[in-house]
Amino acid sequence: MNGQNFSAVNTKTRVLKSRLLSNRDYINLMQLDNVNEQIDYLKNNTVYGKVLEDVDELDYDIQRIEINLKRYLIIQMEKIIRYFTGEYKEFYKTLLLRYEIEDLKLYLRAIERKEEIPNVACFFLNHSTFNCNKLQNVGNLGEFIDGLKGTIYYDILAPYKDEEGPKTIFYMEMNLDRLYFNQLKAKCKKLRKADREAFEYTLGENIDLLNIEWIYRGIKFYNLLPEELINYLLPHGLEFNYKDLKKMCYSDIDTLKEIVLKSKYSFLFDTKKDVELFMERRIERYLYFKFKSLFKKGHLNILITIAYFHLLEFEIRDIISMLEAKRYGFTLEDTINYLVKKIEGSD
């Protein structure tokens, strides 16, 4: 497909979307007594049953479940990718790069803590750009980075090869994130105009929100220099230009709030509840509704598939939240506050 005809892939995507969990499923899950029952519920009553099949009852472990759920997401996206060729296929692969990057971060953290490299990830199997097995056998950071030679990650990680110290990981992660957004931006440039503009809009909003979160946390918790804040901002946002962002970086918390309250993202601070605790969830719920309405509008462009991708992502996050909440003994009323999907009773 050259991007002209979305009717087939969008129909397919609608079928996939219809398999997402219902409100009833959410409530059922939260009402169960313990984590094992929740996992059994997922196994027996939802589409996730298939990827959870091989998880043995004896080693129910939330991390393991999370990996398998993410694998489900990758399988679904690979179904969709099959409808595309050329630049469009490349674009969707780039979208999934985030999961590869998350893997890389897990590896890096394990190396830094001198732990065994987790056998967690590698679910990006069909399109993986590096050799997981090879990387699992390295002894130190230098070897690890050398193992990435030939991938897009090598150039940005190479300068840290001989570095030591806890902050190194932070710098590498920041660079990896920036790489992801730069790649997305570059790949979407090659799409048709309508698709490009539609995607750039949603990407721009996402970047705005991430930047606000970054600046807020940087000022409040990390005591970063304003210059450092600026240098790690993601480019290509939607609402704020460089001057606005610079102003935000050089202000204190209250001024920052004021600026944001005046923008379309006022919902972040316009609340009586805890700002920090729910900030990430608010961002995600905002995007959740955005994508939901995009899906409903159903234009014949790439947004349907992009929306499905994110909706599924949020759902998986919710499932994990529900499992964790049960583990810590949250009540149903408490739990719904931490979910991206809005279940009656939360704001």
Binding site: E227, I230, N231, Y242
Partner: protein, 644 residues
Amino acid sequence: MAVEKMVMMNIIGDISRVDDILKDIALSGKVDLVSAMKEIEENNFAININHENLERLVDLNDIKTFNKDNSYKQLIQKAEEIKRAFNIETHEPSLGGPSLDKDHIRARIDEIYEQVENYSEKIKQVEKRLEEIDKFERSFTIPESFSISTDDLRNLNYFEHKFGLLSKEDRIRLKKNYENILAAILHVGTNKDGEIYLIIYPLLVKEEIKRILRSVNFKEIVIPETYRGTITEIKDQLENEKQGLIKEIEGYNKSLEELKKKYKDEFLILLNQLSIKEKIEEYKSNLARSNKFFYLSGWISESDKNEIKNILNRYDKLLITINDETSIKPPTKLKNNWFFRPFEVLLKMYGVPAHDELDPTPFLSISYMLLFGAMFGDLGQGFIILLGGLLLSRKNKLFGGLLERLGFSSMIFGVLYGEVFGIEELIPALVIKPFEEINTVLVAAIVVGVVLILISYILGIINCFKRKDIEEGLFGKEGLAGLIFYICLLAIVGGTLIGKPIIPTGLGIAIILICIAGMVLKEPLTNLITGKRPLHGEDVSGYYVQSIFSLIEVILSMLSGTISFIRVGAFTLTHVGLFIAFKTIGEMIGTSTGNVIVLIIGNIVVIGLEGLIVFIQGLRLQYYELFSRYYKGDGKEFNPISIK
């Protein structure tokens, strides 16, 4: 000619002499070792039991293999390093020379190695330093117009500085926020990785600037403390250091050279001894040992028997037994005179004859030369191939020899056809001008083929009888039945072609039917003759289905195999025809120089391309039409141990 008869030699001797004996055997180059352990296990180690031998036999009970002496490996590694340091080319171990004790060799090599290593280690260090300088020079490429002295920069009391690389994107990031950054950022140069900047900032904000630089992926280029002054001065300094280092290396090399002068001759002898000893150590893995004796088994050709006994005579208490009958299949040693020997190359490409098979080399040689010459008959071009063969035989004696003989054959046929370099007018044809009598050429090719196939049948039957294989020899499709079948078939077909029956058709068909019956019933018939029962193997119906189908194959292959030889005639014609094409092109060009050039190119193409094709086609006829009728080639080559 033919295959030499091999016998198995078993030796039992005193274990203290094993190295010397093995060395002598290897020097003789006439013994193909086999695993003595296996020989003993299969009870082929025949020893007469008498009082004297009793001890040797009793000792057989706790027999084991030799442990490999790994101390040689280390010595050889050291020797290799010395070789590298002395710059000695690889050399072939030579025979003779005094036999040196292992401990002596070790001591001498260790001594030389220590002296050599001293210098080569130093050279390595200096080279490493040179590399560091090179690396720094490559990254620190600031033009000399940058006149600030690094000393001045270092001596600043309240400021610090850094040189380093920034990407374009990060540079813009900094630039946009310049008013908030307390540092001066100057572009000072370019290297292959990016742009070099000099950053100067107050000591007070040192930590902040470091963090900021960190956030824009600043890659620092560190100037070592010892480099002082301006860029020009640093460059001079580096240049001086480099010169000094190079001189240092030269000095070391000179010392190495002196060492070489002093030790080279001795070292070569040591190395020679060492490699001989290591080879022998390798061969020992085939031997077996007990507490007091070693056991050695190997094939020798019967004619070398006495020579080897003579060599080993000087060792006393050696028990040599020679045995013609063992259960192991002996290897094959081909023995051919100088004329046929090069053709062994072609034979070995197919397979080495088994010990009880005729050596097909002479027949192969003659028939192959005949076929090649017939297809590629040209006095001039044959001469070129002969010359090529002579040149090549310096490097590759066998293949060169092969080309010489083929070229020679081509020349003879050139005279018969009257062709020189593709030109037919120069000399008269002694026998025939192929292009003028196409039919004769094609028919002659088939006749030659028939003769060759008949000879193959006879050779095949001889081979069967040598193997005492009655079934294939009498009733096989390549045996007597097949031969008679083929002759009758030829007689009938030939008779029809010339319109005059050679044998009565009815008789011919009757004989053919008898032959077919023999081929189909070959297994029961053989069992009947040899008196074996039951007549058939296990699967009776399967046997008949198979033999009837293979019969169809026989008839087809007889006809196609014969017709196949028509290619000999066809290529004879192609050879001439291809050249006519070039001649025509030459004439079309018109000028005589052009004409000559085209003819030269034509000759090159014909010799290169057609020569190759004819070479392959001839080989194909040999392998498929002839070898398949008489030759199995499943033998193992005789491979004597030697020092080289």
